[in-house]
Every structure is written in C-alpha cells, then in structure tokens.
C-alpha cells in the first residue's frame, strides 16, 4: 500500500465544487500523516480549467479527459478510479459526501473490494488504521470508528468539516489516458434538469424565518408567516415540510435546497439535521426554538430557546409591533 492521498474532484458544468477545495486541505493533512503526497483526480470532458484551478492549490492533478466523462456516471468514474487505484496504490481515496460522492464511493469500494468510511467529519491515519470521526443518531452522538487494512481506504468527508485549502505553488496537471468502453456504462446519463423558479428567492432575504416538523400542522404555518412578516423577512422550511408540500420546494433550506446567509435566521421547530444545517450555518445571527434540548440545531445557533414553538410564537407575536 502506498502513501499518497487521492482526492476525487467534483465539478458541474465547468465549475469546481467548493467542497472539493476543503477536501484538498484534508487530503494535504492526511498525506502529511502518511508521508506521501496529496494528488487530485479530475474526470471530465473539456474541463481543463477545472484541472488548472485545482493545480493552483499546489498539488499534482491527474486529468482524465474523455467524451465518456461529459457527465458523471458511477460506472465510468468507477472503472477509471479502480484502475488508477490499482496502478497508483494510494493510501486513501477521498470524496466529498455529496449526492455524487456517496453515489460513487460505495460502488467504487465494492467493485475494487476496499474498506469504506462515509460522512466523516474528521479522519486520521494511525499506521495501518484509518480512524474516522462520525456523527450518529441525528447528530446527538459522536463516534470514532477504526478501519484497519492493508488495502487503500475509500472515504467521504462531510462538506464544511475542513477549512478550504489556500492556493499555493508547485502544482501541475498530468494528463492520464482513459480508455472507457462506453458499453460498460450501464446507467446512462440523459439530461440535467433545473427547477423552474416561480417564487421569491429566499437566498436574497436579510431575514429568514424557517419552519420545521415542530409546527406539527400546516395551519400553524400562519404563525411562522406572521413572525417573518413582522421582521420584514421571508419564510423558509426544512425538508420534511417541503416533502409534505406544505411549502414549495423553493423555500427549502439545506443541501438539497437553498443555501442562505441572511443577517438573521430563525429556526422554528427544526432539529438541525446535517442536511439542513449545511444550508444555513453561515447566517449572521441564528436563533433556534426547539423542544428537544439535545437537538443539534443548538450547536449552530447563537441564541436558543428550549420550548414549544406553538406556545412561544404566539407570545412573541404579542410582543412584536405589527
């Protein structure tokens, strides 16, 4: 087993995913621990600017350019990465824990018969062991898991768990031949779809008041709407509410919805699952109201109230000028 750390870059329509830049920083740390070098791999077609921009962080970038990588497919990416892992023998292969990352990483680990750790908030190497930090049980418990193996490990890292890498000198792009047999790609990419936007943009608001499962009934949304109105803000939601269609998808804050950074974010009855927190953690002032004192939302909140929103909100409205 080698010592290098291979970072799999994620990009869409010619733009590098910001979480990949965090992953580069993590890769650099881990390579220092294993005594190897961080390397990145970019699979794509006509995305040499993406490869160049990664080289700007001071590492070697393996660039595979092939029409087969016009769009991401697990089969295409998996084949090439498996071959690269066999020839390059890295210590670790890192991916972002994103929809694409956790689509690819498990399938890659299985096809190449490698150990897999996913959704890690931290990782370190101790000899043959990879020790990862994980969050369990709705973020309420932290765990350290150990994977000891003489094979390279595949790991996905949760976005936001490392500071982005700083640009530095010494990077270079190395072209690598692909040779993908298109007939081996069994999940064929057809098209990219964008949501049709016919709503306000919650990302543009200074004040966002979001509702979660704690509001219990659709009728209770009126309380949140009134609260937002009094503060000159807009109403956002956590995923369960847009799944229930109590609010349109355009109001969803989180990984699969919008990322917002308002001056004021108020979470009403939202427990704070990773998927939601990823979309609001950088807000200026975060206020959370939730019945569960162990709810992870209180980890990112600046101000917290343990209580029932259905009881607190009417009292707040009474005290606020209309």
């Amino acid at each position: 087993m080698g010592r290098d750390v291979l970072v799999v870059a994620e990009h869409l329509e010619g733009t590098l995913a910001p979480s990949t830049i965090e992953l580069i920083a993590k890769g650099r740390d881990l390579a220092a621990q294993s005594g190897g070098s961080p390397k990145a791999v970019v699979l794509g077609h006509g995305v040499s600017t993406v490869a160049e921009s990664i080289a700007g962080y001071g590492l070697e970038v393996l660039h595979v350019d092939d029409p087969a990588f016009e769009a991401y497919t697990a089969d295409g990416y998996g084949q090439v990465l498996q071959r690269l892992i066999e020839t390059d023998a890295p210590r670790l292969v890192l991916l972002v824990h994103s929809a694409q990352g956790y689509d690819l990483a498990p399938a890659l680990a299985a096809r190449a018969n490698l150990p897999l750790a996913t959704n890690c908030t931290d990782l370190r190497l101790e000899g043959q062991a990879l020790v990862v930090t994980r969050r369990l049980f709705n973020e309420k418990v932290q765990a350290e898991f150990e994977f000891a193996s003489d094979r390279p490990c595949v790991a996905t890292v949760r976005p936001g768990s490392a500071k982005p890498a700083e640009p530095s000198a010494g990077g270079k792009v190395v072209p690598v031949a692909a040779a993908i047999d298109p007939s081996t790609v069994r999940a064929r990419f057809l098209r990219l779809e964008r949501p049709s936007v016919e709503d306000i943009d919650i990302a543009a608001a200074d004040v966002v008041v979001s509702a979660g499962r704690g509001i219990q009934k659709k009728e209770n949304l009126a309380l949140v709407e009134e609260f937002a109105k009094r503060l000159g803000g807009v109403v956002g939601a956590s995923r369960p509410l847009t799944d229930l269609e109590w609010l349109p998808k355009t109001r969803q804050v989180g990984q699969s919805g919008k990322t917002v950074r308002p001056k004021l974010y108020i979470a009403c009855g939202i427990s704070g699952a990773m998927q939601h927190v990823a979309g609001m953690k950088d807000s200026g002032l975060i206020i959370a109201i939730n019945t569960d004192p162990s709810a992870p939302i209180f980890e990112v909140a600046h101000v917290g109230i343990v209580g029932n929103v259905l009881e607190i909100l009417p009292l707040i409205l009474k005290a606020l000028p209309s």
Binding site: A99, N113, E139, K140, S256, L264, G307, A319
Partner: protein, 265 residues
Amino acid sequence: MAIGIVVCLKQIPNPDLQFQVAPDGHDIKRESLNYRINGADEYALEEAVRLKEKNGGRVVALTAGPKRAEQMLREALAKGADEAVRVAYEDPAGFDVGKIARILAAAVKTLPHDLVLTGVQSDDVTNSATGGLIAGILGIPHASVVTKVVVQGGGLEVTTELEGGLNRVYALSLPALLTIQFGANVPRYAPLPAIMKAARAPIKELTPAALGVPSWDALAGPYTFKVRRLSPPPAKGRAEMLSGKADDQARRLVQMLREKGFVRA
C-alpha cells in the same frame, strides 16, 4: 413487465429521542429506546409497492437485524409487500456498514431481484453507503437519491437529486439498485385488515447456513472494523440559551431582536 423487487429496510431508534452512551463506550444505551422504520425506507417501500401495482411483480421486504425488526417487516407486509425476510444478524448496533451490505447482498442473491431499493440513508448512522455497496457487490448498476422512477422498455428512467435542487436523469438497464430520496412519493397508511393479516404472516429467517457461510464474520470485508468509542458531541457551547417560562423566553427574545435592530418601530 412484471418486476421482482427487493426493498431493504432498516429499523432504527426514533431519531427524536435523547441518547446516552453505554458505559463501555461502544454503543448507546438501548434498553428504553423505541424503534421505527427508517424514514427514507418508508419511501423506498412505497415506491416498491407502487411499481408492483403499476407493472406487476412481487415485493420482498428484506432486513438484517435483531428479532425486534419483525415488527417493521409486518408493517411492510401490511403496506403491500408480498413476503418478508429477516437476516438473523443480531448485532443491535450494526455500525459496520460494509459487513451489513455484504450480508444483505448475499441475501438478495437468494431472491428474485430485477430491482433492489433502499432508502437514501439511515437516520441513525447516515452513511448513505448500503445501497451503493450492495450494487457494487452484486455487480449491478445503481442510482442514488432517486425522486422518480419510470419503467420504460425493459429498463428504467430515473431522476436523481443533486444539491441545490438540480436533477440528473439516467437510463438504467435491469437488474439495478436505486436509493430512494425522502419525498419521492407519499407513503400510504396500512388498512386495518391488512395489519391484522400481517400480524399472523410468516417471516422468513435467513441464518448464515442458509446463505452458505459458517458465520456472518465469513462475509466481512477486507478490513478489521472497530468501534473506538462513542461520546457526546463536543459542546460548542456558543448558543446563549434563553431559559425561564415561555412568556419570559418570548419577551427576552423580542428584546434581543429589538436591540440588534431587527424590529422596526
């Protein structure tokens, strides 16, 4: 086109509970927990039943877990699964996802499986790994975070969700595996007669011997897995908690909003 569907389900502790670490630090205290079907798996089950109703076929609900998981399998039967199978993997925690996936894949191999469905993640350990691992082990194509499935010309057209509301659409050949996203459908409630019937239905149990291995350990992956320790998350302690009675809390919050200039007039 009739399809044989295996839907993999997991029983998890209710995520809204508070959790305490067991004294040995290797698991949480489980004595007083209540368990339920994993959130995303409800959508996977519903998708399986809808695909069967539309295209014909059969749905097998599969789980790997302790005896208590039979309750969840009975719910699945009541909601339209035709058969329930429990892999008798008695580890209450099941933190080694690679091992669980290998066990489930071995079980899937014994069942007709044109299509394998899982939830996008389990809410207790949130690996989002079981589905992709099973697909890789079985050597079948897969797609993750699926919000829409259409059976088309002997294959599938599936919509997968990316961050920020973007979707990618793929065409897959069968057999295939899909991990189903929250909100992909509206899960049904089980009708009472079906619940009564499911309460008496047989649940098939798979032991290591039934899958042709001496023990579950024989299916472990190319690594040694260890739980080092569980702990409460490090207290960030930056939230200023407004304690007191509800009217005090509300009054102090409004006062703070006022001081910070968020209240006009």
